[in-house]
Symmetry: C2
Subunit: 246 residues, 2 copies
DNA sequence: GCGAACCTTTGACCCAGATCAAATCTAGGT
DNA sequence: ACCTAGATTTGATCTGGGTCAAAGGTTCGC
């Protein structure tokens, strides 16, 4: 068992149905995990972990969405992570998390009672390795998001968010006709604003603008159709007026 | 060897002089590392890793500072990480980094030829564990920085940056009289701006404002004295006019 | 069907920070 | 000492997005 691990969503032979813990089904390791896993459900808006809590478990999203949020004393908030199905939360080996985890839609998580860090490294090395890889992925994502937060315009920020959601969501579901991508936004305008470092009014305005400019289609408030992610990101760059100079 | 690892800067008994790889000096593991370590120096401005490069090594900063930067096609840049002494760079198990690493001051790094991920987990489990812990710390730091980028004002951003630099730097050096913290900024105004998602002009203006308001003292452009980190963060909140309403 | 509690959209106005431009202030180098 | 290339400061002006405010839309429960 020395090959590179490639743990993808929904490995069939594994009783736990997503990549988070399916370490290409190393039997012994899985058994160890089986013994300590359990499921928990949360309603939209319910708090999964309060900042400052002792983390009693490591969890992985099965369905629904949760958000990782940091808050300042004066109430300003910044979402610092979106937890989509197969994503991980938790910090084995640390007692406090510095942010809240709140269910953004109805949510099911697969939880594992916290194990001492060292014993995990020893008993389930492939899981440990996968955990490290996933943490590195999250770090990459966080850093990419720093670029979005620090340097992109409101319009570009929206486009970036739509891409993130769309890529994750659409890959699981079907895509629309003519290669277009169709998905439902699982976030309110306010949640989008929290993630993007904007106000909800600006988010709403920019969504309307993108629709008006034909970059995206909107049915209702949540159902989104985009031509392609490349075009979305491109056209979001060209600020508005796609032909108003006459 | 089952106790919690607490790897701090400058462990004496370890031939490698910082926490990055000093896994409380597990002899066998250190020996393994000894065999593959070497030092490299870089001048200010020199590129350590280009985005898209295959990472040939894992490195740890010995002295100097490097920055991790992401760039957009149109030239906008966002620094996504500051590498201070004892910090780590590198992504074992991945072929490309998505950002440049550039020396911001003269820099010495301790490098390790890249090892296959799996063999590292097996051969040096304490180092692997330490690597995971450090990655989680970086993730925390990145997320905290997302709050700074997304929600803080220019003045607050500067204060946050001064705290980060000051805490790291001052802990190694001496502090000034009366509990004040004294340190040298290792960054140009432009580098600060890149980190904070601001322009260099705004950084300069806010530095001047903080000095004018007596929140910080400046000798030359780089030598900074702050009363305390708490006061710095507090007073940065109260926007300017510390008594102008009469 | 009717509120009530939310979301969401839109408008009017304002301001923090960007942009453009010009001095100053270094630190080398010759 | 003088010159040059950066780094830094400061000023004037502009603007993207925030703030405040007021209307729609939806989706409940009753």
């Amino acid at each position: 068992m020395n090959e590179t691990l490639d743990l993808t969503v929904g490995c069939d032979s594994c009783p736990i149905k997503h990549r988070a813990v399916c370490a290409r089904c190393d039997a012994d390791e899985l058994e160890t995990l089986e013994g300590i896993k359990y499921y928990r459900s949360f309603e939209a808006g319910q708090t999964v972990i309060w900042s400052g809590d002792r983390m009693e478990f490591v969890g992985s999203v099965v369905s629904g969405i949760a958000s990782l949020t940091q808050t300042m004393e004066d109430g300003r908030t910044q979402m610092v992570g979106l937890l989509l199905p197969s994503d991980f939360v938790g910090r084995p080996g640390r007692e406090t998390a510095s942010y809240d985890v709140v269910a953004t839609t109805d949510l099911v998580m697969c939880c594992f009672r916290r194990k001492p860090f060292e014993s995990m490294m020893a008993e389930t090395p492939h899981v440990a390795q996968r955990l490290l890889e996933m943490t590195l992925d999250e770090l990459d994502a966080a850093r990419e998001w720093m670029l979005v937060l620090g340097r992109k315009t409101a319009r570009e920020k929206i486009a970036s968010l739509l891409c993130i959601i769309g890529r994750r969501d659409a890959s699981l579901k079907l895509e629309g006709v003519g290669g277009k991508i169709v998905f439902d936004l699982p976030l309110t305008r306010e949640a989008m604003a929290d993630y993007l470092g904007l106000t909800l009014e600006t988010v709403s305005r920019q969504m309307s603008a993108l629709k008006r400019d034909g970059v995206i289609e909107l049915e209702g408030k949540r159902h989104v159709t985009v031509p392609s992610f490349e075009r979305l990101l491109d056209e979001a760059g060209d600020d508005a007026d796609g032909g108003m100079m006459a």
